[in-house]
């Protein structure tokens, strides 16, 4: 029923007048643009097997994960208070986004999910950081992860996904909230009788943005952003070096309805990009945040630079893979000589 209503709503929206909502690519106030876990995926040590669910247990505390949050606010100047206090919770990452505290958010299509979830929530960290450099460490114990495993509807089949839910609060009192998933996997992959053995499994790594092509110029993360001194639109394209960036990985497949045991399947990682700017304008129709690697579509956007960029103006390009890997690169903009770059990768 809700899919039908959504379809009717799409039709209605197509035929209705457009609304003047703000441009998603334009950063005008306090926002979380990205969050990165290093590493995004952790192998765990298997505990002794046991009858029933879950399919595995974790024997020892896993490797610590450092989470970095790209939180920005262009209204905050160099002399303003840029401190950000944070509070972080952890819970199972199946179903709604966010942990129980403060409410969980349902996905758009709530036919398959639901907006309520009863999942154990653990406190992770409290502290203080600053805009654009807020980090905390996620160090769950084996006991905590084993609690999540018992709550996982898949019993750990295909891995354990934990989300950290962080609420950030500015000195002004303004708050924003975000969530990031961290994957806990085993190194073992099963195979069906007759299947070839799967390749060795390696943990996922955060992707690296090799460079941008701005008009015809290659711009690395450490190059200045070439404004060219004019406001004519620039063609911006992420450059993806297949030999360096493409990861392939095996996944365990479900047992099929004929009763065949789980097997494995090799997948190729897919990258996507998001573009943000504090000034100027990205062409909304060009920005499609989910473009699979190797797609025949041209991965480029038009960017109209501002007439008079200030030292605080910047653009960010955020890169995602489809397994929780994230990175970003920032280019500061300034009039005349071009911008400066800094990297979050």
């Amino acid at each position: 029923m809700r899919r039908l209503l959504a379809a009717v709503g799409v039709v209605g929206a197509l035929t209705a007048c457009g609304s003047d909502f703000e441009d998603e690519t334009l950063v005008v106030d306090l926002r979380i643009l990205a969050a990165k876990a290093e590493p995004p995926e952790v192998f765990v040590e298997l505990g002794p097997s046991r009858a029933g669910l879950p399919f595995f247990t974790i024997a020892s505390d896993p490797q610590s994960v450092r989470v970095s949050v790209l939180v920005v606010d262009p209204r905050v100047g160099p002399l303003d208070d840029a401190r950000v206090s944070f509070e972080v919770w952890a819970c199972l990452a199946e179903g709604p986004i966010g942990c129980g505290s403060g409410g969980a958010a349902s996905r758009g299509d709530d036919e398959g999910g639901g907006s309520t979830r009863a999942s154990t929530t653990f406190p992770v960290a409290k502290g203080e950081g600053s805009l654009e450099s807020l980090v905390f460490d996620f160090e769950p114990t084996a006991e905590q992860l084993n609690v999540f495993l018992t709550e996982d509807p898949y019993g750990g089949f295909g891995g354990l996904y934990v989300q950290v839910d962080f609420t950030l609060k500015m000195a002004s009192g303004e708050t924003v909230r975000g969530a990031k998933i961290i994957s806990y996997q085993t190194a073992l992959i099963t195979r069906r009788e007759g299947e070839p053995p799967p390749p060795e499994r390696r943990t996922n790594q955060n992707p690296r943005l090799s460079s941008l092509r701005v008009d015809e110029a290659i711009v690395t993360p450490f190059d200045p952003f070439p404004l060219g001194g004019s406001t004519r639109p620039l063609r911006v394209e992420p450059v993806f070096e297949a030999s360096l960036e493409v990861e392939t990985y095996p996944v365990i497949t479900f047992p099929d309805r004929e009763g065949r045991a789980p097997g494995w399947q090799q997948l190729e990682e897919r990258l996507s990009f998001n573009f943000f700017a504090t000034a100027g304008r990205f062409d909304e129709d060009d920005v499609d945040t989910r473009r699979p690697t190797g797609s025949a579509r041209e991965l480029s956007v038009n960017y109209e630079p501002p007439r008079a960029p200030t030292a605080q103006d910047a653009i960010w390009v955020v890169t995602h893979d489809d397994r929780g890997g994230t990175t970003w690169v920032k280019w500061s903009l300034s009039q005349g000589a071009g911008g400066r770059a800094s990297s979050g990768q």
Binding site: M1, L4, V8, G12, I32, S106, F157, I181, F254, R323
Partner: protein, 751 residues
Amino acid sequence: MLIGALMGQPAWAQAPRLGGRVIDSTGQPVIGARIATDDNVFETYSLADGTFAFEAIQSGELVLMIDEPDFEVLTFRVTLLSDGVLSLELRLSPLKKAKGGARSGDGETLIVKARRPAGNLTRYTLEREVLRSVPGSFGDPLRAVQNLPGISRAPYSVGILLVRGTGPGDSAVFVDGHEIPLAYHFLGGPSILAAEMIHEIHFLPGNFSSRYGRAIGGIIDVTTRDGTRDEFKGAVDIDLFDAGFFVEGPVDDRTSIAVSARRSYIDTILRGAASASGKPVAAVLPVYYDYQARIDHALTGRQALTLLLFGSEDHLSVVGEPSGSGPDTGVDARIAFHRAKAEWSIDLTNEARLEVSPVVGIDQTSLGAGAVSIDATAMEYGLRVDLKLKPLETLEVRTGLDVLARDVELSAFVPLNVPRYRPFPNTNAGDREPESLKRTVSLTTAALFAEAEFKPGDGPLTLSPGARAELFAYFDQRRFAIDPRVNARFALTDSLSLKGGAGLYSQNPTETRLDPELGNPLLPLEWAEHYALGFELKTTRLMSVEATAFLARRHDLSVPSETPTLTADGAAPERFAATASGRSYGLELLIRRELGQGFYGWIAYTLSRAEERPDDASEYELFPLDQTHHLIAVFSRRLPSSWEVGMRLQLVSGNLDTPIIGRVFDADQSNYAAITGAPDSIRQSLYHQLDLRVEKTADYGDFKLAYYLDVQNVENAPNAEFTTWDYRFRESAPVPGIPVLPTLGVRGTYL
């Protein structure tokens, strides 16, 4: 007055054994005249061409009367032999002191009746001539049905049936006893049948007869009509959206033919307008056509043969181009169906009639959006056998067979909604690469049904027990349902009757949900209980009030399930589970004024509540399309000089909505998820729509031209259907419904 009578040779091919035609002193047909026996046991009404027929009547000496406004009362006596067939021509004399305007015989008169039901507790019946003049319906008969109690308003007037709080897949539309896949063209378009081809539309909101199955909501049963054998007649109808024609006439003295067709052209008009404006416009418009052809032949030995061909096609066309080269908004959607139906009927005796009706059909559906495509072709084969018996004066029995077989071939290139491995959480299905999918699905149902209408002691009580036993077969699954049903009516007085009923109803889940790879073939049948209690009161000759309190409970409804099925080796998604249930209850009221002194009208009000829950452990929540209040008032009046004006007012509770109280940034999907309040806990503002219609008929003897202006939503009320939000759920804006929508048309009728 003059009465002419013919003995022996029937002038019509269908069932009645006593019939004829009612005309006035000028020879024009009298429409809606009630012809009844003096004890009111048997009654019928004249149609647009003045003809009438009794469905069943006793033999012997009968006293009949016609008492119509503007005419002298006509009483006459006939002797009907046990195997006799009698055709009468009844000429009515005008009242010496005429009170109102002249009655027109142009066939455009509204009559809304609730006839004494046969197996159905509540049945609203609309004759063909009704439906033209209801404002806001653009002269479409099936649209006029949506002004009756029990039907909820569909967003954007899309042609889905929402009956007593059920979903669109829970109700069914039948044409001459066989189900069709859709009743309306896309996006609020007209119905797929031309008005001239329709004899009657019966709307059964619940507690329907055991003749109908494979539905747990309501039924719309459309009966088509045969062509005239007198002489050729025709009509052409042209308006802003489409043009159509109708022609009927005799092939020989035993055979008639009726043909109709229609084609839309609004897309051509708006495409030209968009091009002329020079502005980029993105709008989705339907392109449609439909056709019907019927041949009737009277065989010897009280047999008749009918062949009906009809079909419809809809295609969505995107007008104009979106700006830039951004997200692909290309849409290509097409749905078509065609049916060929035959019917052989025979009056075995005066008390027994047999009808055998096979049907064959094809349904084609295709949808393409970007790289995704879905094509489905279904072949359908059906057979209905109906045997009607009247072994006693107080007992009628009906039994039969209803078989339907569907073979669906599905070919798709889609991202499968559920991958073969556990995906990263909250990954959208659209991110997956499309995969080729081919499937053949066969679904066969076979039902035996039986029902009776019994008047114990020939008293005021009428009982209608019935039952339907149906076998559903798909893949390697077999499901069997026995659905007992009973309705009762008690005539307290000649004008006041009480009614009540209860019954069980079953249907299979949709074919997609039963698919072994995309769905769950282990799903059981969905089923429902219907209960109703009410009364019918005829306050005056032309005024009546009907009220029905209803309760419906639905069980084993299939819903998407993310619950994995766990085995010793691993986990696999369940996809669908039959854990949901629903219930709806309320009161329906219909106050109507039948045609008289040149005007008619009715008020339909439904007070209801519809709820659902995903499983028995959960609390009931409001059904997304719940509409607590639904009021419709229709009025139409004939004015001098062949003018007619009408209005329709609709007031409906606003659509349900879920408040958004916060948001969380999903760092892995790089978008925001809304934190919602209680689901469906707020409503859009009250929906109100006023429609007006004006028609002027010019009479040129055998040829008439009617010019009409039909304006929907005269006030251009915004009537928000949904709320849209910005990317981080901080700002919102209402999405308006259909704006003011005028249509100007002309209809030419020959004879």
